[in-house]
């Protein structure tokens, strides 16, 4: 079965987020009253798996093996079957 | 009458009813198809197809539009120009190429005709150099425009089989504090453009691992609507591997990235004025950059070169496959047959004309003898770069293009490469600026602080450090050098492991002077580029010219261009410095008006032993400071006048014979190791040069204006300190070398004006011996560094 996973990798709290800070500064320069910005990365992955359970297991592995570095990254994902 | 008829084929192909079109319809076709040809050119196309007794396809018209565009063919420089005095047949031949032809130095290997100029270097190696303009794309999309500009000029270097080893970037922006309210809609704020352009250049150069070693940034109101982006690249190649000799039967191999719709009509767009609508209409014309693809491409190309497997190479820039195949065939008097369906695409559904003219990045064209084809394909596969044979070169002088077995284009190459000459009018009108009068300030310390903090002089460290200028480990003189990171006059690269010979890269640009007189602007640019090279020990200088001008169809814009070209001839000849390559960008006009005419001169020199290169920071208390060169009351266009809101009239001139002699003497002094530091006098004059030397080296300086060689009329301290007269240097010489140095300088204008001091103050004594400048080095350094966020 074909699945689509939408994976979001974001920074763990506690570490500084220079990209978010810079973006916030830029938006404030444009006169928006921005309090804070956090940046995360979204991956959309299309892949084959035998079952939903199997699909979830695979995506979790993908995250741990490549997409996120547990030292600084959190991740979460949604999975849906696609026809 | 219907102008377009869809052919009955299983893909999108139109026949254009050119033969029956009247003048109005010809222009309508040119406009609707976005090919940017004028009536005269459309008529030439019409005549060609009447002789062929058939109508053209859209592929053919698009191909002609690309090949004849200002960007690809440089109509203005090659066309006829009527001035009030005479008729100029080709600015290029009359002024630029003429210098090189007359000087004809044996070390110029290949000039103007190729993707980049080639000059002899050392041990069978040649240096390749090219500087591109990428103004229009950067105005629409600063990051993408500047990145692809860098990628493009690097491919120009690859396009002569050379290894890219250094980049240079000269940029022009509007004032960073420009009022948001005054921006016309569709024009981006200078701050946004600045950030994007700098990031784009860094993205490409850093990722590819090519050090960005030289550059400059200028700020001018006219750049708000017309950003100026000059991207340059220097390469090196073993001359015995240089080959451009396509033979009939050779295979046309397209290498690099896939082809998509990105960049369609980039060329015609670069040859038109920017309007409010440009943003919406032109976005797809800006290409997407992938430096890693080009890095891999570079590896595969240099290996193909080293194994001697290709017969020619060219980059795919403006006009895409259409220009590259045509030019490569034309250069070797061949023909070419292309099977367009073989081109690897990013996505399906592209019409043949789109495939043929797309300007997708990171692609190049090779011609490869059949027997080497397999080996070449393997090399590219090893680097994970796509390589596809898309056709074959023939002996018939015809460009033939098929798509899925249907002929979609057939054009005679001699027709394609002999477009009708444009004829334009040029008339320069002297602007009526006046010399300002204001009383001489008693104390000039404050003005020195203001000047080192003015945007055109202030440190560009925040930009310089965003570029990798160290990668490859060959950067001998860096953009910021010395204990406190002073602004060097030129970069020095040591490209060969087994030789001490270096390449010296510098530039000159003075748009402010051009507001008064473009002739003296060009003269000053050449002087500045050459003297920057001289300052560090560079000689045997070759020049590259880059013009950014407004709409050349307007006679005043063209008039100023003619004037600056005249100076290019006079002064390049006078300095004995041939032009080897160049590039122009016209139609830099926006709702805010035309760009300030901006000539960039890039100078490529050599230094026999990089160990003798001289940096600009002072080295030792007690050393003598000499000024070399005469100071004139030339403050027109100066930063000092600008500080007070004036332009003025007395633009700096160049006395070229004296200047050349003086620079030769400085080189001799550097080679003899008499010179400990040397800095050229440019924006801000003597005061700024002295301040920069002093705060970069960390030692003070005491100078006497009384000793400065000057014309009789000069009686003001401020004018002596801030005049921007050309061909001047400050030179640090140890006491024990005094006699040697002075003997060497005999016959030149020079004088001892002070000493390096142990304290940390820049002190200047005026004509009446009173102290007119007393500035702490820490404060000077701080002003210089903080203006642009150091």
């Amino acid at each position: 079965m074909m699945y689509r996973a939408k994976i979001e990798v974001s920074l763990k709290s506690g570490h500084s987020d220079p990209e978010g800070e810079m973006t916030g500064q830029s938006l404030r320069e444009l006169k928006y009253s921005v309090k804070s910005v956090s940046v995360s990365k979204v991956y959309e992955v299309y892949f084959e798996a035998d079952s939903r359970q199997e699909a979830e297991k695979q995506v979790d592995e993908m995250c741990r093996r490549l997409l996120a570095n547990p030292t600084k990254d959190d991740y979460r994902f949604e999975i849906e079957e696609v026809k | 009458m219907s102008l377009y008829a869809k052919r009955n084929v299983p893909f999108e192909l139109f026949e254009v009813n050119l033969l029956d079109a009247d003048d109005k319809q010809l222009l309508q076709i040119s406009g609707e198809m976005g090919i940017g040809l004028n009536l005269n050119e459309m008529k030439a196309v019409q005549r060609y197809f009447s002789r062929k007794k058939r109508n053209p396809t859209d592929v053919e018209l698009q191909t002609i539009g690309q090949t004849w565009s200002e960007h690809c063919y440089h109509k203005t420089f090659k066309g006829n120009i009527a001035t009030p005095k005479s008729e100029i047949r080709s600015l290029f031949k009359t002024y630029i190429a003429k210098v090189t032809n007359e000087l004809n130095p044996p070390w110029c290997i290949s000039v103007f005709e190729d993707n980049a100029g080639l000059i002899d270097f050392e041990k069978g190696y040649a240096v390749a150099a090219k500087v591109e303009t990428h103004n229009h794309p950067s105005a629409i999309e600063p990051f993408g425009g500047a990145a692809t500009g860098t990628g493009g000029v690097i491919r120009d270097i690859l396009g002569v089989w050379a290894d890219p080893i250094a980049c240079t970037d000269v940029l022009g922006f509007g004032p960073l504090d420009y009022d948001y309210e005054k921006l016309p809609s569709g024009t981006k704020h200078p701050r946004y453009v600045f950030r994007g352009v700098v990031a784009g250049i860094g993205h490409y150069g850093n990722n590819m691992g090519i050090p960005t070693v030289n550059g400059a940034i200028y700020f001018d109101e006219s750049y708000v609507g017309n950003v100026v982006v000059y991207c340059g690249c220097i390469g090196i190649l073993p001359m015995n591997r240089f080959v451009k000799n396509t033979r009939p039967g050779d295979v046309a191999v397209l290498v690099g990235g896939k082809t998509g719709r990105d960049g369609i009509h980039g060329v015609t767009f670069a040859s038109a004025e920017l309007t409010r609508k440009s943003e919406e209409v032109s976005r797809p014309a800006v290409q997407i950059a992938n430096p890693i693809e080009e890095e891999k491409l570079k590896r595969a190309i240099t290996r193909t070169r080293d194994e001697g497997l290709g017969s020619a190479i060219t980059d795919l820039g403006g006009g895409g496959i259409s220009c590259a195949t045509g030019e490569m065939a034309n250069r070797s008097n061949c023909g070419v047959y292309v099977e367009l369906e073989k081109v690897p695409l990013k996505y399906p559904g592209m019409a043949p004309w789109e495939i043929y003219i797309s300007e997708s990045q990171e692609r190049m064209l090779l011609s490869v003898p059949e027997k080497n084809l397999q080996k070449v394909l393997e090399i590219f596969e090893g680097e994970e770069v796509e390589a596809t044979s898309i056709g074959r070169f023939t002996d018939n002088g015809i460009l033939r293009v098929d798509y899925l077995g249907q002929r979609v284009a057939e054009l005679d190459l001699h027709f394609m490469f002999e477009p009708p000459r444009v004829r334009r009018n040029a008339k320069w009108k002297e602007p009526d600026y006046e010399e300002p009068y204001f009383p001489e300030p008693e104390n000039l310390t404050y003005d020195v602080f203001k000047l080192v903090a003015s945007l055109n002089i202030a440190s560009k460290e925040s930009v310089v450090r965003a570029y990798d200028h160290e990668v490859k480990g060959n950067t001998v003189l860096k953009p910021l050098h010395g204990r406190y990171g002073g602004p060097n006059d030129a970069a020095v690269i040591k490209p060969l492991s087994d030789s001490w010979k270096g390449i010296v890269i510098s530039c000159g640009m003075n748009p402010n002077y051009g507001k008064i007189d473009p002739y003296w602007m060009a003269a000053s640019c050449i002087d500045e580029a050459v003297r920057n090279n001289t300052s560090v020990g560079g000689r045997r200088v070759a020049l590259l010219d880059n013009f950014t001008w407004g709409n050349p169809e307007k006679s005043d814009r063209l008039g100023s261009l003619v004037r600056s070209c005249q100076a290019c001839y006079d002064f390049a000849k006078g300095f004995r410095t041939p032009f080897i390559s160049g590039k122009d960008s016209f139609y830099n006009e926006s709702p805010l008006g035309p760009v300030t005419p901006t000539l960039l001169i890039t100078a490529i020199g050599v230094i026999p032993d990089v160990k003798k290169a001289v940096s600009m920071d002072v080295k030792q208390p007690g050393d003598i400071i000499y000024i070399v060169g005469q100071t004139y009351p030339e403050l027109g266009g100066s930063q000092y006048y600008q500080l007070r809101g004036f332009i003025g009239k007395t633009v700096p001139k160049v006395r070229v014979d004296k200047a050349r002699k003086l620079m030769d003497s400085i080189i001799k002094a550097i080679d003899s190791r008499y010179v400990k530091s040397c800095h050229d006098l440019s924006e801000g004059g003597l005061a700024v040069a002295a301040a920069e030397m002093s705060f970069s080296g960390g030692y003070g300086m005491a100078l006497r204006l009384e000793n400065v060689p000057r014309t009789e009329k000069m009686s003001r301290n401020d004018f002596l300190l801030f005049s921007e007269s050309n061909s001047r240097f400050l030179v640090e010489v140890p006491e024990k070398r005094r006699e040697d140095f002075e003997t060497l300088m005999k016959g030149n204008v020079y004088a001892e004006i002070g000493r390096v001091k142990k304290d940390s103050y820049l002190s200047v004594y005026g004509l009446n011996d009173e102290k007119v400048v007393d500035a702490s080095l820490a404060e000077l350094r701080n002003c210089w560094r903080s203006a642009l966020g150091g």
Binding site: - | N206, N207, V471, G473, H481
Partner: protein
């Protein structure tokens, strides 16, 4: 091992761009170094023919996902057993800049318990943000465990350039102190950013150019045979590469980065 028997592999993939100057350093020391594409090595399966392995600087695979991540996984997947044996036999592995990022992403550094399954550290986006190219000072911290700095005195201050956008060394927040202690206990801390007078940066920019935790510029694994650092020793090899070589009377022939390569060659020469 005789000097002429030493064979150094400088590995590269698409986007690697500091391989030539790294090779030049070994050439200068009279050691044979070869630049090998990962794909070529996978095809030949000959990693174990080499005495040392170097991951040079660059932007491997465009730094997509995270700097060094894709190259790290590619190496682990394709060379897993050979690499494990290579490391177990104590053959030196050096990672410079992007190469350091690779070693961390591959779990080879800090490698408290050998090669870890998931990264135990990270090289995150610089603070302040952005690519930064400048010369820095680092203080040598190793008491002798790291084979790449054996020829350098403890406490010596070295000068080398950095050029990167992702060099902020990090441990997981909750394990920071524990991991730092282990670095000290195992003598794994090799270089820390400091000023020219050997005072630690304490996080202050630009002395610490990227905001790295504890001013960490380079670490080795507990055995001292795997070493990664953000600064570029290969760009601080010859005297004329210094940013102020014009200052003194005579230009020095070499500068500080050379000792890293020398130590490595010296180790190999002594190794049986």
């Amino acid at each position: 091992m005789k000097k002429k028997e030493i064979r150094v592999c400088i590995m590269r993939v698409g986007g690697t761009n500091c391989d030539a100057e790294t090779k030049r350093a070994f050439d200068d020391l009279g050691v044979k170094a070869e630049i090998v594409h990962l794909n070529e090595m996978v095809k030949k399966g000959n990693l174990l023919d080499y005495s040392a392995l170097v991951f040079p600087g660059g932007f491997s695979y465009g730094d997509y996902v995270r700097a060094g991540a894709i190259w790290a996984k590619g190496t682990l997947t394709n060379l897993r057993y050979d690499l494990r044996r290579f490391v177990e036999e104590g053959r030196p592995v050096l990672g410079i800049c992007n190469g350091f990022q690779v070693l961390v992403e591959a779990g080879l550094l800090p490698g408290f318990e050998g090669i870890s399954e998931y990264p135990e550290a990270a090289l995150a986006t610089n603070v302040p943000i952005g690519y930064h190219c400048n010369w820095v000072y680092v203080k040598h911290e190793s008491s002798g465990q790291c084979l790449f700095t054996k020829e350098i005195q403890k406490g010596k201050v070295l000068r080398m350039p950095v050029a990167h956008a992702e060099g902020r060394f990090l441990f997981p927040k909750e394990k920071e102190n524990d991991y730092l202690k282990r670095l000290y206990d195992n003598d794994q801390l090799v270089f820390r950013y400091c000023d020219e007078n050997s005072e630690y940066a304490n996080g202050a920019y630009p002395i610490n150019p990227n905001g790295a935790f504890h001013d960490i510029a380079g670490i080795c694994d507990p055995t001292g045979t795997i070493f990664g650092l953000m600064p570029h020793p290969e760009r601080a090899y010859y005297g004329w590469q210094l940013p102020d070589w014009t200052k003194g009377g005579r230009m020095p022939k070499y500068c500080d980065g050379k000792s890293v390569f020398e130590s490595m060659v010296e180790y190999l020469r002594k190794k049986s």
